[in-house]
Symmetry: C2
DNA sequence: TCCGTATATATAGGTTACCAATACATAGGA
DNA sequence: TCCTATGTATTGGTAACCTATATATACGGA
């Protein structure tokens, strides 16, 4: 029951949201996105390749991102860019997230108040 | 990709946390817990029986809750009570949740700032 | 020059949380 | 009498994510 079995279980269901939001900050290729996400989350999120690429393919299939291969450098890289539809989805999902947090915060505030400050 | 396919997908992975926190407010039987959760979430969370009871059984198996049948009233009811281990798990999961939100908030704050107030 | 590591993308198979559907049974009101 | 609300439970299915594996290039050190 979600007892830290898998690294990213705490973010389950929100990886698409996180990826879209990172792409909103500028186009990236998969590997770069992976590192950026690890950085901004201070290591809390560590997307494995087997997690990342299937999500990107799915986002592409939904036309939320578009991509093109860059062959100029030695290694081929696949750059992903947010589409208009992707931006729309991002705001939709971000709004949902805000609603979820407000709901959870109401439930958890009495419990969290008894805890020491995160510092 | 989490496009409101199922009613509670937005809360996926947190139903155990929500149930534990509702039980922290006092012992309840399943059906009562189901309604209370719907109330405090203003209808956002609507646990079906097929979702609720398996979770309760699992929590019981982990000794996070204990339960006893109440036979006095007409219909038998199974009351669930948080154990010490359950309380410990609750604070642990609540802390995790706080960390997740702070991480997501950092990612989403630029997007949410552009949106109108929830009101 | 050879090897290990970082870079870079991809797929197959498995696990788990949750849902939908169904089942069974009692109480109360129309 | 019948319908709805109450109350607990199980079975089968789906989707998201993970682990393991595969393939290939670039680069630095020995």
């Amino acid at each position: 029951m979600l007892v830290a079995k898998d690294a990213n279980d705490l973010f389950r269901g929100n990886l698409d949201l996180m990826i879209l939001s990172v792409l909103a900050d500028g186009s990236k290729y998969g590997y770069l996105l992976q590192q950026r996400l690890s950085d901004v989350s201070r290591g809390m999120v560590s997307l494995q390749a087997g997690t990342l690429y299937p999500i990107l393919h799915k986002l592409e299939g939904e036309k939320l991102v578009r991509c093109r291969w860059e062959e100029t450098t030695g290694r081929p890289r696949k750059w992903y860019e947010l589409t208009a539809k992707g931006r729309s989805r991002l705001t939709e999902r971000a709004t949902q997230w805000r609603d979820v947090t407000s709901c959870l915060e109401e439930l958890l505030s009495p419990i969290l108040k008894t805890l020491p400050d995160p510092a």
